[in-house]
C-alpha cells in the first residue's frame, strides 16, 4: 500500500533536521548526559561528572548541551530537581527529606532555589497543594 504523502510540516522538519546542527554522535552524547542527570539527580553530582557521562570536556559539553536543549546542563539539572521536589512535596514528604532526595546538601540552598524557580517556599507550596486537595 502506498504511504501517505508527507505534509508540508513533515517536509520542513526533515529539511531542517538535515542541516545537522550537531552530529548524530554528539546528540547521542548529550542524551547520555541527560539520562545520567535523570538517574543521579538525588546525588551530589558536579558538572564534571555530567560532562564525563557525555565523554566530553566540561567547556565543550556545556556548549554542545546548550545547543541541543536550549538551556545549560546546570539549568536542566536544577529544573529536574525542582520538578521532582514538587512531586514529593505534593505527596506530603517533609521538606528536609525532599531536600536530601533531590540532591541538595543544605535546606536554605534548596529553599532559595525552590522559591526562585517555583515562586513559593517549599513549605508554602506543600500547604497550597494540601489545601487544594482538601
Amino acid at each position: 500500500m502506498p504511504s501517505k504523502p508527507k505534509t508540508f510540516f513533515e517536509q520542513e522538519v526533515e529539511r531542517i533536521a538535515e542541516q545537522h546542527f550537531l552530529s548524530k554522535h554528539q546528540y547521542i552524547q548529550v542524551r547520555q548526559s541527560k539520562a545520567f542527570m535523570e538517574k543521579y539527580y538525588g546525588e551530589n553530582i558536579e558538572l564534571e561528572n555530567i560532562a564525563a557521562a557525555a565523554c566530553m570536556s566540561r567547556f565543550h559539553f556545556i556548549r554542545i548541551f546548550k545547543q541541543a536543549y536550549g538551556i545549560t546542563p546546570r539549568q536542566y539539572l536544577r529544573d529536574l530537581r525542582m520538578s521532582k521536589a514538587k512531586e514529593l512535596l505534593k505527596k506530603g514528604v517533609s521538606v528536609t527529606q525532599v531536600c536530601s532526595a533531590v540532591g541538595y546538601g543544605s535546606i536554605s540552598t534548596f529553599s532559595n532555589a525552590f522559591k526562585r524557580g517555583i515562586g513559593y517556599s517549599p513549605l508554602a507550596y506543600q500547604k497550597m497543594n494540601k489545601s487544594n486537595l482538601e
Binding site: K4, K6, T7, F8, F9, E10, V13, A17, F21, L22, Y27, V30, R31, K34, A68, Y69, G119, M128, N129, N132
Partner: protein, 129 residues
C-alpha cells in the same frame, strides 16, 4: 509575580473537543462556565492539576477559521504536548482510532509526532530524548 495560567486551542465544537481531550488524550476537565452560547471550558494534565489550563476555545471569528484551516492543511501543529514515552502513546492513540499525519520521528534531542484532534487542529506530541 506574573504567570501563565491558561492557553487556548481553537475548536469547532466544544463538546466534541471535551470528549476528545479527556477521553482520548487523557486530560481532566477543570472549569466549565457558561458564557453566552459558549463556555469557558478548560482541561488540565492529570499530573499538573494546578498547572497551566488548556482552554477549549470556540472559533467564532471567521478569519481565525481561515488561519486554522491553513495550518491544518499544511500539517502544521499549533499546539504541542509532552509525553514520557511517545511510541507507547502513539500505539495507544492509534488503537483508539486517532489519525496521525506524522508518525513518531526522531529529530535531534526530541521525538515528535502529529495527530488530528478532530476539532480542526494538528497537535504535536513530543518526547524529550
Amino acid at each position: 509575580m506574573i504567570k501563565i495560567y491558561v492557553t487556548g486551542v481553537p475548536v469547532d465544537d466544544q463538546e466534541k473537543a471535551l470528549k476528545f481531550y479527556t477521553e482520548v488524550l487523557g486530560f481532566i476537565k477543570k472549569t466549565e462556565i457558561p458564557i453566552g452560547e459558549h463556555k469557558w471550558l478548560t482541561v488540565v494534565s492529570p499530573e499538573e492539576q494546578n498547572g497551566v489550563e488548556l482552554l477549549l476555545e470556540p472559533v467564532a471569528f471567521e478569519p481565525a477559521k481561515v488561519y486554522q484551516k491553513a495550518l491544518k492543511d499544511a500539517g502544521i501543529p499549533g499546539h504541542s504536548f509532552m509525553v514520557d514515552d511517545l511510541k507507547k502513546e502513539y500505539e495507544r492513540l492509534v488503537a483508539l482510532g486517532v489519525q496521525f499525519s506524522m508518525e513518531p520521528k526522531e529529530v535531534g534531542t526530541n521525538m515528535i509526532a502529529v495527530l488530528d484532534d478532530t476539532c480542526g487542529n494538528n497537535i504535536q506530541l513530543i518526547q524529550m530524548l
